[in-house]
């Protein structure tokens, strides 16, 4: 998968959700990612206060 999250690092702060331009992310008990909406733009990984998200662009 080109989008991945390390749930051990994630602080459930929702920062990634607020910057996602396509509404591909949602914070429930954990971050839920919708690959169908994701464009792999990578801004969620950039905004994350820790290094919880990895996006590999192809």
């Amino acid at each position: 998968m080109a989008w991945s999250i390390n749930s051990k690092l994630c602080l459930r702060c929702g920062g990634c959700v607020s910057v996602c331009p396509t509404a591909a992310l949602e914070l429930r008990d954990n971050i839920v990612h919708d690959m169908a909406l994701c464009t792999l733009c990578g801004v969620c990984a950039k905004a994350c206060p820790v290094e919880a998200i990895k996006v590999i662009k192809q």
């Binding site: 929702g14 959700v17 910057v19 996602c20 331009p21 429930r28 905004a47 206060p49 820790v50 290094e51």
Partner: protein, 387 residues
């Protein structure tokens, strides 16, 4: 059917709900958090003047009364800006619940632990309800107007209006609530440095008994806030020696106020509409202003039985007139300060008067700042941005 459904029981949502209930409308607030106000995602600083909007904040919500701000230049020199009216460091877990209770007393219904998963539209494209989940039960509920007060962290605002926070217009933040921290307890402490916290700042907001929220926000980048925080704590043993009682994080909008916040039967308010002060990232007061203003507009629309986008767009007009244009100026100030080097910041803290700083955060007297900057030929073009 309810008159209004509010999504989110933060300061924006419950302020909106309280006023609508006072105006005689039936209003229901849903929040996904199991406990309203927790976990906190906030430095918990608020000005005393916010009580003009909220009424008297009860003592139980206040961790520490504040006299003013100590602003540290990168070289360690500082300036104390003592306020004629001070501020508070809140206990938001208590404060948010108090606000929610006030809305309930006014006649609103509030329900925690209720996740809103989607918005319902009718065939005319009007927003008419929400889909949600409470303790395993899925439900749908209808209303004449849906208020989205979810904070920035919600895809609902994106789905409804295409609104999100541009990545370069948020500060990525980490915060530790710490015990055994030694700072002057009745000032908030702000550390400026383009090296220690690029674009943002480090804050220490005392909460009494040597407890404090120690936080840091920066422009999103590869090096993470956590790494900057480690460096700050190493440089400041009086703070770094403390124990971590709580870890908070988040991205706070510091710009990107949206032009349009309404659709047919739908209003976006508070941090969900990026209504935050761009210079310090304070969003509680702006959320309350925005929530109350939205309620006033919705009240008029419901009375006239017209909740169309056109009718609700009075909110755009009002908010931009009362807050938007002013916050835009503050955003310019932020854009200017982020271009300064640490040596510029040292000189600036030296040259400023304490009372100027307070005015700047309100978007006033920016020409004073421009004049100070223009003393350095290199900064003339940067300073012009303020005029």
């Amino acid at each position: 059917m309810n008159d209004v459904i509010v999504i989110g029981a933060g300061p924006a949502g419950v302020s909106c709900a309280k006023r609508l209930a006072e105006n005689g409308f039936s209003v229901k607030v849903f929040d996904k958090r199991a406990e309203i106000g927790a976990p906190k995602r906030c430095g918990e600083g608020i000005s005393e003047s916010s009580q003009r909007l909220l009424g008297k904040i009860p003592d139980k919500c206040i961790a520490q009364k504040i006299r003013g701000a100590r602003l540290y230049a990168p070289d360690g020199r500082y300036l104390d800006a003592i306020l004629s009216e001070g501020g508070f460091v809140l206990e938001r877990k208590v404060f948010d619940k108090w606000l929610a209770e006030e809305a309930v007393k006014a006649g609103a219904t509030v329900q925690a632990n209720t996740f809103i998963s989607d918005l319902i539209r009718d065939s005319r494209g009007y927003f008419v309800g929400v889909k949600g989940e409470f303790l395993g039960n899925e439900f749908e509920e209808k209303a004449k107007v849906i208020v989205c007060a979810t904070g920035a962290e919600s895809p609902l605002r994106t789905k409804a209006l295409g609104v999100f926070s541009k990545v370069n217009l948020v500060d990525s933040c980490i915060q530790y609530e710490m015990a055994n921290v030694d700072v002057v307890p009745d000032l908030i402490h702000i550390y400026l440095s383009s090296v220690l916290a690029p674009r943002g700042y480090v804050w220490v907001f005392p909460k009494g008994e040597h407890r404090a929220n120690v936080g840091l926000g920066i422009i999103p980048q590869e090096k993470k806030p956590k790494a900057y925080m480690d460096e700050f704590l190493k440089l400041h043993p009086e703070i770094g020696k403390g124990s971590i009682l709580e870890v908070n994080a988040g991205c706070v909008p510091v710009g990107g106020m949206v032009e349009n916040m309404v659709a047919n039967g739908f209003v976006l308010c508070g941090e969900a509409a990026n209504h935050v002060n761009p210079i310090h990232g304070g969003g509680i007061k702006e959320a309350v202003i925005s929530g109350q203003m939205a309620a006033d507009v919705i009240t008029e629309c419901l009375k006239k039985n017209d909740v169309s986008k056109t009718a609700l767009s009075k909110f755009n007009e009002l908010w931009w007139k009362e807050r938007g244009n002013h916050l835009k100026k503050v955003e310019k100030l932020r854009e200017t300060l982020e271009k300064l080097s640490d040596s510029d910041l040292n000189d600036l803290v030296d040259a400023l008067k304490p009372e100027d700083i307070i005015d700047f955060t309100r978007g006033a007297k920016l020409s004073v700042l421009a004049k100070v900057l223009m003393r350095k030929p290199r900064l003339v073009s940067i300073a012009r941005h303020l005029l």
